[in-house]
Symmetry: C2
Subunit: 194 residues, 2 copies
Amino acid sequence: MRSKDEIVKDEIISAAQHLFRKFGLKKTTMDEIAAECGKGKSTLYHYFKSKEEVFKSVIEKEITNLRRMVKQEVDKAITVQDKVSTYLIKFHTEVLNKLNLYSILKKEVNISRKGQEYFDRIMEYERSYIQRLLEDGYDIGEIKTIEKDDIEWTSEILYAAFIGIVKYSTIREKGFDTEKLKNTVDKLIPKLIC
Amino acid sequence: MRSKDEIVKDEIISAAQHLFRKFGLKKTTMDEIAAECGKGKSTLYHYFKSKEEVFKSVIEKEITNLRRMVKQEVDKAITVQDKVSTYLIKFHTEVLNKLNLYSILKKEVNISRKGQEYFDRIMEYERSYIQRLLEDGYDIGEIKTIEKDDIEWTSEILYAAFIGIVKYSTIREKGFDTEKLKNTVDKLIPKLIC
DNA sequence: TATTCGACCATAATACATTTTTAGTCGAAT
DNA sequence: ATTCGACTAAAAATGTATTATGGTCGAATA
């Protein structure tokens, strides 16, 4: 069971999440967050040491949720090819669904040094997730055309390509058709790795 | 032989190009461009109807040059696989070499509506270039796994992936190693299209 | 003791008035 | 047909007064 402390923290995070989605980071004040969850502003500072800390927690929650959704889908896939392909499709779909988080990160945080650090950390995590998928495939003998040592940079290139596809989808009026995307990726991936 | 008119225009464009590279679009004034090529400001307006027109011409020149370099290399390649692969490698290399142009486009122009239109037009051109490569390959029978009707969106996905790779290279300290990149792409492309 | 809050402060964001720059014009000179 | 100096209107930069906001602290509450 969660402690009282954690429950209140979650309340604050939810309120902040709600407002950040609506107005973005800069246009949401601590007073507003406090009002949204019916508490005094000073109370927030009992649970978080700064506004940035609150924001970090909200992002953490969103990212964690996104990753859970993706992982859940990837775990269903049997072969490595399927896992990698599913990773892209699901990630693509989820980002397009929750564009708010993505644009907050990009437009408001990206300017600062700290913002870039968040972004880098997120990117590094995703890259290493792909790397792990490939390494698992290598270990069980499914991947034959890539040397173990080459998996690291291969996953980096793969990740860069994936992000490019997702980003491209976000700036077009309509994102890529999931079916078509899956079709193409399913052709590419299997042949790359085996 | 070029007319006097064209020579002067080129002088102005070169001066502007030089200053834009150094200070960016907003921090370069028409007076400075005029001084750089030893002419009065009003003279510029005899050749270009606005600052935006000058900027457009500079970008045009840069892009044209980039495309000539890429095309030159692509034309050397014999098979479609090679052409597509070469396209990415050369484009990647050239953009990394001339990062200035890229960042001007991104950071200063991107904000405005017109800037977005430039960008879209450039992207559309590159996408259709890839499409043409694929269509040629289809017509000579090299491409067998893609239906003619699917070439359009396949080239779009391919382009998005390519741009992702190039962009990723620009934000890392060091760009992707060309050898490794070529290695991976050479593995991917042939299998996608035949 | 663990939470909550109202009152408070220093600084950052905003608004506004004033000055300076700068894109673009025009008529004259070459 | 080109070039330019002098000019203007509009935009950007600057300085300043005002407000809003992040964050603190000691007291109140439960």
